[in-house]
Amino acid sequence: MAEKFITFKANGKEVTVAVKPGEMLADVLREKLGLTGTKIGCREGECGVCSVIMDGKLVLSCIIPAMKAHGTSIITIEGLEKNGELHTIQMKFVEKGAIQCGFCTPAMVLAGKVLLDENPKPTRDEIKTAISGILCRCTGYQKIIEAIQSASEEETR
């Protein structure tokens, strides 16, 4: 199987990677770019912990062929911190106790970011819907929702 080079923006930086036709984006991010913040939980798009932001939309990287990423702009959890400073949503997750085992946390934070970028003052129901595609077995979701709500109440992010 021939490898092809693809180029895309990973957290704002342009990268060129050789990928196989059957390789999934999650594996390319994790194994080839060292971005292990994106997790893999089921490999069939049913748990959501592999979620990343692709061209502004939340997507499941474990079922997206890496080739699809060519020419796109991808944001993973590693792209949220700026110069050692946590993004507001990350700070709120820490503050509100929204993190337990941490396996779904990167996906949840990214879901929060995508939501607030589009809808700066979401209702509680809108937050629940935004994270409805990511399973969490530890938290019961309450504090994750609170953290995103609290982040939406901050003036600047």
Binding site: M1, A2, K4, K20, P21, G22, E23, M24, D27, R43, E44, G45, E46, G48, S51, K57, L58, V59, L60, I63, I64, P65, M67, K68, H70, G71, A111, T129, A130, S132, G133, I134, L135
Partner: protein, 306 residues
């Protein structure tokens, strides 16, 4: 029997090639070259999990998502034209679709999860041909048709004639590409609705999905046309024609609606499934959902016309 075929799956799909053509003609050329072992991919939300489980064997993926102009929703006269790359999210959030084909917007809003809706396409949902697919059932009720292009030309197929079996349509995905989905819009005296029953509130396939499109006369007292689609209650999306006949040209009242709903439950033939539930329960729910869908559509009609 080798158990590992059900539990061990390779990380990498065994596709030999992955193409990103820049035009539909280029895509068709590739399909032609591969003579049946290439497949068109849009979002991939069905093809990838199926490839992983070795339920389908594909040598080359022809990813059409880089082709310009295929993700448009437009109004052409009395018809909504939905491009092959239009996603569930686009349809769910489109004011045009909400106004002109509400059942479709509703159905699309319930597919899987936000992430799946962002990438999965309506066209892909149709091709995947699951008898209870969330956009397929409304499309059948709305009388939609699908247009495909091949090297031999174009053809348009009515969705009521499209489905052959679970996962199988009259479209040959190794030769034909979806170019558009045409949905007749709701007119003055028309409304639609889609309702769903599932085991939890997200990330789940429905136990039952029902969609209706109703047409009433100018007095708004008589059913002039009703289209009721439901699934999964058969191997293909199901039209409850017997129930529809009961309503046609008859006075709109609760008794009649209930009678039709019960008739729909009689004509549907869901099997007992270990995962989805017994056939008795699913038949009983047919009646509940059909009644609710019809009433919801009627309520919308009232609201629309004041």
């Amino acid at each position: 029997m080798q158990l590992q075929k059900k539990i061990l799956y390779a990380r990498e799909m065994d596709w030999e090639e992955y193409f990103l053509p820049e035009s539909l003609d280029e895509a068709l050329d590739i399909l032609d070259r591969y003579q049946g072992s290439a497949r068109i991919m849009a979002g991939g939300t069905d093809i990838v999990p199926a490839s992983r489980k070795k339920e389908i064997d594909i040598k080359a993926i022809v990813d059409i998502t880089k082709i310009e102009g295929l993700n448009i929703i437009s109004l052409e006269g009395d018809t909504l034209k939905i491009g092959p790359l239009v996603t569930h999210a686009q349809v769910a959030n489109s004011p045009l679709v909400q106004e002109k084909a509400m059942a479709l917007a509703e159905g699309a809003s319930r597919v899987g999860s936000p992430q799946v809706r962002n990438i999965g396409t309506v066209a892909g949902n149709i091709i995947n041909a699951q008898p209870g697919a969330d956009t397929v059932i409304p499309l059948v009720a709305l009388g939609a048709s699908i247009e495909v292009k091949s090297k031999a030309g174009h053809r348009i197929i009515d969705l009521n004639d499209l489905f052959l079996d679970v996962g199988k349509t009259k479209i040959d995905s190794t030769k034909e590409i979806v170019t558009a989905i045409y949905v007749p819009i709701q007119r003055e005296n028309e409304a639609s609705a889609a309702v769903r029953l599932a085991k939890r509130k997200a990330l789940t396939l429905p136990i039952l999905t029902v969609a209706v499109k109703i047409t009433v006369d100018n007095t708004k007292k008589i059913f002039k046309g009703v289209s009721i689609a439901a699934g999964p209650v058969a191997t293909t999306p199901f039209r409850c024609t017997s129930a529809e006949r009961l309503l046609f040209n008859n006075e709109i009242n609760d008794e009649l609606i209930l009678k039709a709903a019960k008739e729909a439950a009689v004509e549907a033939r869901p099997r007992t499934s270990l995962i989805r539930g017994s056939s008795e329960y699913r038949k009983a729910m047919m009646s509940v959902l059909v009644e609710r869908a019809i009433k919801l559509a009627l309520k919308r009609l009232e609201a629309k016309n004041g």
